[in-house]
Symmetry: C2
Subunit: 472 residues, 2 copies
């Protein structure tokens, strides 16, 4: 039995995805090409992501700031690799009111240049360091093809930018923030990830190295879900960020930047959703429990139940609309609410409620006694763990260890996923792999396994074990 409003996930995954986005009222297209409207249900998930991550950033000593939306063309051009990476995809403001600007401004595609410029004025002594700044904002990249949450001309994100007095400290910040992302995505979003180093060709424009969190979607396609970059002194040299160190010598500062975006919401949909709609893990669901009273006369009973849950920190909502119970059930399933409690007169009299969990769609009876709230809370943990495990098992079954290009081709044509191979380190071999359905290196994981001695492409001596995958 599936919801008739949406395409089946196994029939047309791309259409299924947009059907969920639209039918769960997460987002809508705007009249402005390539720009998305985040509707209340979609934005509420983003708010939840923001709240959890923001607390963690602050606990680790970061503070929020707000940088301008615009970057002077000359400022953007200060770091060569950076401008080469971003110039082809920025939006340019050329007029203010009816006047042409003397220098055109780009709408920030990312804010390294703005933070660089700011830090060059602020950083003077090692005593000022570290400076651990973050901002929640939107950025603009003039993409040709767009997909809700995954790729858009404007998208919401956070970007952390830090300055340190030593390379060691900056490198450990880069790793720490990757770990923050990994923990968040696994523990809250119930999405198992792999993490590691990006290859030279895949790293951020201007970075010394980029660490990445990668997640595998239901269709076997990878989603780069968060990145953390170490800049070394590259931006500091370009923007002249110097400090006097503890030996009273002038030294260029060491920097990092790191970010996640609303594409995480795309990941949630594509890892957990099914043919009945979205499925939200309880730890990230804006509404964790929906209570559906079948008759108006039990609304007040439903409200009391909702209050009880709320006292235990469980977010619930009583659906008092005049739709039919069946319609409501389908709607809440579409919206991915983890738990539904069905309340009829009979249930109240018998003190036994029907509780439906969204992930497995199982229904069970729970007795309304002193332990009721605790049982709901346990059920939430169970759903959270089950969702993680299901995604983890799927990832395992779609992670392949290969030693020949033929094997890779066959897998990618039948049941794509992560491909683990050895690699010599030559970007040319990445180009060779790209010919197989656009395979790209995902990351070089920290924990290396030795599959063989030779690069899968050229047969030369291998340097790394690498994950490959096609990507969103």
């Amino acid at each position: 039995m599936k919801n008739k409003m949406i395409t089946s996930r196994d029939v047309d995954f791309a259409r299924w995805y947009t059907d969920i986005v639209r039918n769960a009222n997460l987002a809508d297209y705007s009249s402005v090409k390539g720009c998305l409207i985040l509707e209340p249900r979609g934005y509420a998930i983003w708010e939840k992501i923001q709240n959890i991550l923001d607390k963690e950033f602050k606990r680790l000593g970061h503070v929020n700031v707000s940088m301008p939306l615009f970057i002077n063309e000359s400022l953007l051009q200060k770091e060569n690799d950076h401008i080469e990476g971003f110039a082809p995809e920025v939006a340019w403001v050329t007029h203010g009111g009816s006047k042409e600007l003397e220098e055109r401004l780009c709408v920030r595609p990312t804010s390294e240049a703005l933070f660089g410029d700011y830090y060059s004025k602020k950083v003077k002594s090692y005593r000022d360091l570290p400076m651990l700044y973050n901002q929640w904002c939107s950025v603009v990249r003039w993409e040709k093809e767009t997909r809700p949450f995954l790729r858009a001309r404007e998208f919401l994100w956070q970007e952390g930018h830090t300055v340190h007095a030593s390379a060691d400290e900056a490198i450990s910040e880069t790793h720490q923030m990757l770990e923050v992302y990994k923990r968040f995505i696994e523990d809250y979003m119930a999405i198992p990830v792999i993490t590691g180093l990006k290859t030279e060709s895949e790293k951020f424009a201007g970075a010394e190295f980029t660490l990445s969190v990668e997640a595998l979607m239901y269709d076997g396609v990878s989603l780069q879900s968060g990145t953390s970059h170490y800049f070394g002194q590259k931006f500091a040299k370009a923007f002249d960020i110097k400090f006097s160190n503890d030996k009273n010598e002038q030294e260029y500062a060491y920097q990092t930047s790191w970010g996640v975006s609303i594409r995480l919401i795309g990941g949630l949909i594509m890892v957990h959703g099914d043919d009945n709609g979205l499925i939200l893990p309880p730890n990230i669901a804006p509404i964790q429990v929906v209570i559906v009273p079948i008759k108006e006369e039990i609304y007040s009973y439903a409200d009391e139940l909702s209050d009880e849950l709320s006292k235990a920190g469980i977010t619930s909502f009583v659906d008092k609309t005049d739709k039919s119970p069946g319609f409501k059930f389908a709607e809440h399933e579409m919206n991915g609410i983890p738990i539904r409690i069905e309340l009829g007169k009979k249930e109240i009299e018998s003190n036994e409620f029907v509780v439906a969990r969204r992930d497995t769609r199982e229904k069970m009876k729970i007795t309304k006694n002193d332990k009721f709230v605790e049982e709901i809370s346990n059920l939430m943990s169970d759903i959270q763990n089950n969702m993680y495990k299901k995604a983890y098992d799927r990832n395992m079954s779609r992670t392949y260890t290969c030693t020949s290009l033929e094997e890779v081709k066959e897998i990618m044509e039948t049941k794509p996923g992560y491909i683990k191979t050895m690699w010599c380190g030559d970007p040319k071999c990445e180009e060779t792999m790209k010919e197989i359905r656009g395979l790209k290196s995902r990351c070089i994981p920290e924990k290396q396994e030795k599959i063989s001695d030779e690069c899968i492409c050229c047969g030369k001596k291998a340097k790394h074990m690498l994950y490959w995958g096609i990507q969103y």
Copy 2:
């Protein structure tokens, strides 16, 4: 005794203001002309404002969304008054990457057009209504002259946009949101305000009417601090937002919009600050208490004290930097932290702490016993009330009732403030008043007093009692 780093407030108010902004590290100028960088201390105040207002918006049933940053030129032009009001001051994006766009896009100066377009697709039946949406974002207006927080080419704000099935309901939303702003500004920011209706010449471009919250700064200049607009069916007709009403007839919807911005932070500075820096009311201060331990050996004692305050919901911070106590005291005064606790070994032994309140700069001794936290909490209430009262009394002493233009001129040359007069309702008389140092109508308060029968300008029959003032 005043802080030597800043200009005296009574010598040069404008310079004093920017000195505070810079020395309290609230904001900095960026390399992008007219665009501000909100630094951690400034942004923390904005976060506090956001948290409090966002909770209140949600309590009243509003939800957050995110609309695009850009508006197609043709979309902006749909409502005539609106485009006339905003077109001269928008920034235009003409190129994406290296390509010229087919239709140029403006960076949103406000989002009525985007919400209008969205609602035209979404609103179908009276059952869909009301739709109570809000967004926290930044907007761009190509101002020629800018001042930190008060006027900038880009500024942070929130904009609520609601759609209703009846004029009555929309009008009452317009009033309700004005009241939310008034309560927030008075109760949290300790800024007494006047509220009322904007005249036809001062209302928002495209509104049926605009309600406004006005605050008086230390220098007698007015700050429009929040506005709430009733659109009637104007935008609904321009954007074709129709719904089938309960008689199953098609009807144009009724709309409102309302907003406050970071200019509220400018208001905080200009109402409460003094020659030693910023003074933050405890209810809006990101840090309410700073604890300054004089010696390193009492750091752990200071931390325990901070924990105790934190348990009572009081935000405190222990200053462990290696600066001198005198330097620290001046710095925390500059930053406007409401309460400072000075901790020395002697104080710990005697169980009597020196506590300094920022508003009056009085020092007092408070015994460290069971009631200590309660006493700090009471002191915070006292500071909050005292700050409000001080500003209120100043407003009263600078609110003048006038019946002749000569009186007005004299006041405006000596000690400007609010001018209360009668007015005939003719915009020409507003033009006459403008000749007196740029006086503008502030608002027509709900509670009318009858000062005389005649308009102060033309002597014709008066229609309203009006507040006038010069403005930021």
